[in-house]
């Protein structure tokens, strides 16, 4: 059958990127995430993604490493530990779906470790490095899950870092 001129071409051009973009869109919009929904949003058949990603996990893993890259960029742009903590939490709150996905995948632990290293760059003692990461991550997760309600999360982060981390670093 001949394609009508107005129809889009059989071959998409750059489906892998389009799929990633569509998946990100689903996460940002908080819509239920399914491979079929991703394909739908990319305007492609339900099985087309399988040409580029082995399975759903593979797409999610790609999303996770992308997310860790974005987070690392943000962290590296911060000057002090307090700023990094604030960026970390604000990233989580701005992209809840992506953030949860990043830390939920057993894959992409290397990317997570790199993120941790950037954070640790502002701290000296090893126990403090882990403690700082854990506290900031804990704040992010608790806020994300609604276990810690607060009108001004950024302020909360700064106060908590000042009360806990700063004395420990000085100590």
């Amino acid at each position: 059958m001949c394609a009508v001129s107005t129809s889009r071409p059989y071959h998409h051009g750059d489906l892998p990127a389009a799929l990633l973009h569509a998946a990100l869109g689903l996460l940002e919009d908080g819509e239920p995430f399914s491979l079929r929904a991703v394909a739908r949003r990319a305007g492609v058949s339900p099985n087309a993604p399988y040409r580029h990603y082995a399975d759903k996990e593979a797409l999610l893993a790609a999303l996770a490493t992308y997310g860790f890259g974005r987070l690392a960029d943000r962290l590296e742009a911060a000057a002090e530990l307090t700023d990094m903590a604030e960026e970390y939490v604000s990233f989580a709150l701005a992209h809840p779906g992506l953030f949860r996905l990043m830390y939920g995948r057993p894959t992409a632990n290397a990317a997570a470790a790199r993120t941790a290293e950037i954070l640790a760059g502002r701290v000296t003692a090893p126990a403090l490095q882990i403690g700082a990461w854990a506290m900031v991550h804990g704040l992010a997760v608790l806020l994300l899950d609604g276990k810690l309600t607060c009108p001004d999360p950024a302020q909360l982060v700064r106060a908590t870092v000042a009360a806990v981390l700063t004395p420990a670093v000085r100590g």
Copy 2:
């Protein structure tokens, strides 16, 4: 049709409790969690649970509040902040499915708040209370997600609390 004598009775007796138990078993065994699997494990038809729980969320919410109860018991039995932190993390590592479920439900925030209060009982300053909870929870989550590998988690918790929380509390 007449029931054969060896078959179990039509009415279960205490299905709600049996369903909770079956669900817990699924979580502990790390098997994929589905309402049908819960019903299967309880030896009952796929739709029987709907007589006792409005939907899947309701069952999960019941599980979550149960889990928070168990965690609170453990925390209250601990004498010092360090012990509580260790209990918190060890609970998470011992019951990963249940722990993730507890903090993943938007419901049962009251139970989570109660847990936080128990933890806060060992700390005075408000910012420190939140910081302590966040750090301990962060350690639990990072360990659970495999982002923080460590041969002896309990030791890690004690060291981190000693390095970060104790100095901050001392002021």
